[in-house]
């Protein structure tokens, strides 16, 4: 069965590009505009991995990671942050909230897929 990945980004073009890349690689994709939207869309779906932007309206990525880690099904789920901030502070805050890794924008589709392979069988 194909893995379902959750992609959270407020930029529609990023969502489109990432979903296209992931679907093309055979993954199922759920996409959401921001943290709040993501939490609403999870809906008991079995998510194999979460890819989230950090800066978003309503609920940002770090808060989303924190909340996800508190949910019963997400204790061990890989969560990767998409970030333009290559500064360590954001990255560390994300890691402390429970993120598994990060990808720095801009990235190439193949780099995204390579990173996913680190976390999903």
């Amino acid at each position: 069965m194909a893995h379902t990945l959750l992609i959270v980004d407020d930029s529609a073009s990023m969502r489109q590009m990432v979903s296209f890349t992931l679907k093309d690689a055979g993954y199922e994709v759920i996409s959401a505009n921001n943290g709040k939207d993501a939490l609403a869309k999870i809906n008991n779906a079995k998510i194999s991995m979460v890819i989230t932007d950090l800066n978003m309206p309503e609920m940002d990525g770090i808060e989303l990671i924190r909340q996800l880690r508190g949910l019963p099904g997400f204790k061990f789920t890989p969560i990767v942050m998409l970030t333009t901030e290559s500064q360590d502070s954001k990255k560390m805050a994300g890691k402390q909230a429970g993120a598994s890794g990060w990808i720095v924008k801009p990235f190439k589709p193949q780099q995204l897929l390579d990173t996913i392979k680190k976390f999903v069988k």
Partner: protein, 693 residues
């Protein structure tokens, strides 16, 4: 329009919307310069334009927005405040970005540079690093430089909390394995006793001896997300550049001392005694067994690396006529049968000595079998190169532009399978080029690249090999197939078929939808023959297609033809076997269950209804059903279907014997095998049984 263009277009639209939002936020900010919501809104607009802009190749936009974003970030955290000047300049930047985004993109570069430096000055302390725009290498991945093959020793001790960050250390080890030849030793000595163990913590750590030409950066990249919390040591222990002429490898003790797992004094003391060094260490408790093992593995791997280098100079292989190999495989087959008999007899005798010997013979036989079958394995690559030529010639003949891409040339398959695979593959590739790939003009008109591509890939999957032939051509025309099938009276006009069933029709005898017959294909002999040959290899073939996007044909083949792992079952007094690879599970079915199903052949397996074929009736084996029967659940072509048998005996090494000419066409049976007691068991042809019910 290609996908990259589509994404760029989507970004343009989005950026225009964001700029409009930014503008209104700025105008409101002028009235109310401390509203955190408005500042956040402006920051996010810039942030998104920057991030996505760089993704889609708008580097000039990204560079400018980065500067603006930096200033707004400072406004956000309170170190700068909103001024009229800032709002003016930001509005100006917004206009400039709009121009940069518009398709002709004619913009005064000096104006852009000026704005960039203005914003840089506004950003108070200039500690900021310049944005890296359009770089190829952010996430650290994809740093590949081919170097000489080197041997690395890696100790990876993940943080105990690693599971809670969603990282599976085994996946990292798997990634290392993909880099080259790799030996991994897990150290379990830190695992506490069960009552004090926390299952959510990781107590294991690993020593990895890796031989790779990818370089140390590739290894570091594997650990990029865990390097801060984990203990990771990477050491080069053998460099192929030196020591070619004198094979020197370190003694076990030296390695342990070098790693800090043992002191020099302890080592020397132990050396006084004359026993195997590793044994003494373990006995005397100076080092853990796993640590000693790790060091031994390292020693061996270095030895092997050095031997390999020496060997490659000398002759590395010998040529043997394939008949000799065939004889060998046959003999091993006989031996496996005799060994089964020996085990069975020994089991009945209740003689421990005999049992011991039987077990030893069993172990040796299975090793002998594996290595004999291994000799017959060949990489499929040799056939691949033949196909490249075929593609080249065909595309010239048909005046099409076709490129062939192959993957997995190193995948090994039984020699006979590879030989018998040649014709079907030639046929499929011909079909792809002739019917699938369109002429360059048609392709261009449809917005595709002029050159079509045929992908040929081979990969291992369990005990089978999967071959995929994928083209990016016109795809199958469902309506044409349907019309043709009705014309050829293969289906009724009213038949409702799924795509899969519809596509499967092209494997029917005498089926061809090509409008004109070319010299290459289109005579309607072919796909049915292809299917037959694949099934004769005990393989399956499957086809999917998307109109306008191409067709994919998937062939699944067993690794070898001679001996298979199978499941033995019993019906009445008869034994049957079926390939274990097809079996998913076995469940009991009582006469009550059968009554409850009201005459339908459906078994309830944990809530899902699985149809089954009652083999007793299917093979007319007379007797009455026993009270408890078993359903062997198999998976064929994506469907779960059960086979009802009396009882399940267990796994069995099956040496396949073909049936005599009289019985060759019996449906539902693919061969026979000889059991330990000399009797014969028939091999079930599960896909055929399922197909014919």
């Amino acid at each position: 329009m290609d996908m990259a263009q589509v994404h760029r277009e989507a970004f343009r639209e989005e950026a225009h919307e964001l700029l409009t939002e930014l503008e209104s936020a700025l105008l409101e900010l002028e009235e109310n310069p401390v509203d955190a919501n408005l500042i956040g809104c402006a920051f996010r607009a810039m942030h998104t334009i920057k991030g996505s802009g760089a993704m889609f190749g708008f580097y000039e936009v990204a560079e400018l927005t980065h500067e603006v974003e930096t200033v707004f970030d400072q406004v956000r955290n309170g170190s700068t405040s909103v001024t009229k000047d800032l709002i003016d300049k930001t509005l100006k930047a917004g206009d400039l970005i709009r121009c940069l985004l518009s398709s002709n993109g004619a913009v005064d570069e000096s104006e852009r540079q000026q704005l960039i430096s203005t914003f840089r000055q506004m950003a108070a302390p200039p500690e900021d690093k310049p944005v890296h725009v359009g770089s190829d290498n952010p996430a650290g991945a994809l740093r590949e430089s081919e170097e000489d093959e080197k041997l690395y020793r890696i100790r990876f001790r993940p943080s105990p909390d690693i599971f809670l960050t969603g990282t599976d250390p085994l996946l990292l080890l798997k990634e290392l394995r993909d880099l080259g030849k790799c030996r991994i030793i897990a150290h379990l000595c830190d695992i506490p006793s069960l009552d004090s163990m926390d299952p959510e913590r990781c107590y294991t750590y690993w020593d990895i001896i890796l031989s790779t030409a990818k370089g140390i950066n590739a290894i570091k990249d594997v650990f990029i997300f865990v390097e801060e919390d984990s203990e990771i040591h990477i050491t080069i222990i053998d460099d192929s550049g030196n020591s070619i002429d004198k094979p020197i490898y370190k003694k076990l003790g030296e390695i342990l001392v070098e790693r800090g797992d043992l002191t020099t004094e302890d080592m020397e003391q132990v050396l006084q005694k004359k026993k195997l060094f590793g044994e003494i260490l373990v006995e005397s408790g100076l080092a853990d067994p796993s640590k000693v093992e790790a060091a031994l593995v390292e020693q061996q791997q270095i030895r092997e690396a050095q031997q390999k280098r020496q060997m490659s100079a000398a002759a590395a292989s010998i040529r043997v006529p394939s008949e000799k190999l065939d004889t060998l495989v046959n003999l091993v087959g006989e031996l496996v049968t005799v060994q089964a008999r020996l085990s069975q007899t020994a089991g009945l005798r209740n003689d421990t000595h005999l049992l011991q010997i039987a077990e030893e013979v069993e172990r040796l036989t299975s090793e002998l079998r594996d290595s004999t079958l291994n000799i017959r394995m060949m990489p499929i690559g040799s056939t691949f190169s033949k196909f490249k030529r075929l593609v080249r010639d065909l595309s010239q003949q048909l005046e099409k532009e076709v490129e062939m891409v192959t993957e997995g040339a190193g995948t090994e398959l039984d020699k006979t399978v590879i030989e018998r695979l040649n014709d079907p593959l030639v046929h499929i590739i011909r079909n792809s080029i002739d019917h699938g790939i369109e002429s360059p003009e048609t392709r261009q008109a449809a917005g595709k690249p002029r050159q079509g591509t045929v992908h040929l890939t081979a990969e291992h999957s369990g005990d089978s090999v999967i071959l995929t032939i994928r083209d990016d051509g016109a795809g199958l025309d469902k309506n044409a197939i349907r019309a043709k099938a009705i014309e050829k009276k293969l289906i009724l006009e009213s038949a409702e078929l799924s795509d899969r069933e519809l596509f499967a029709l092209i494997f029917a005898p005498g089926f061809s939808t090509a409008k004109k017959i070319t010299g290459v294909s289109g005579r309607g002999v072919g796909m049915d023959v292809v299917k037959q040959s694949i099934e004769a290899l005990r393989g399956t073939i499957d086809i999917t297609s998307q109109k306008g996007e191409g067709t994919t044909i998937t062939i699944k083949l067993p690794l070898t033809l001679a001996i298979i792992e199978s499941l033995m079952v019993k019906i009445g007094d008869e034994y049957f076997v079926m390939p274990l690879s097809l079996v998913e599970e076995c469940v009991e079915l009582t006469s009550n269950d059968i009554e409850r199903a009201h005459g339908r052949n459906l078994a309830n397996v944990r809530g899902s209804m699985i149809p089954y074929i009652p083999l007793r009736q299917r093979f007319l084996l007379g007797d009455k059903d026993p009270a408890i029967q078993h359903v062997v659940v198999t998976e064929v072509a994506g469907e779960r279907i059960g086979l009802l048998v009396d009882s399940v005996i267990g796994e069995h090494q099956t040496v396949i014997k073909s049936l005599g000419r009289m019985y060759r066409d019996v449906q539902g049976l693919s061969g026979a095998t000889i059991l330990g007691d000399g009797s014969v068991a028939l091999i079930l042809d599960v896909p055929q049984l399922v197909q014919w019910g």
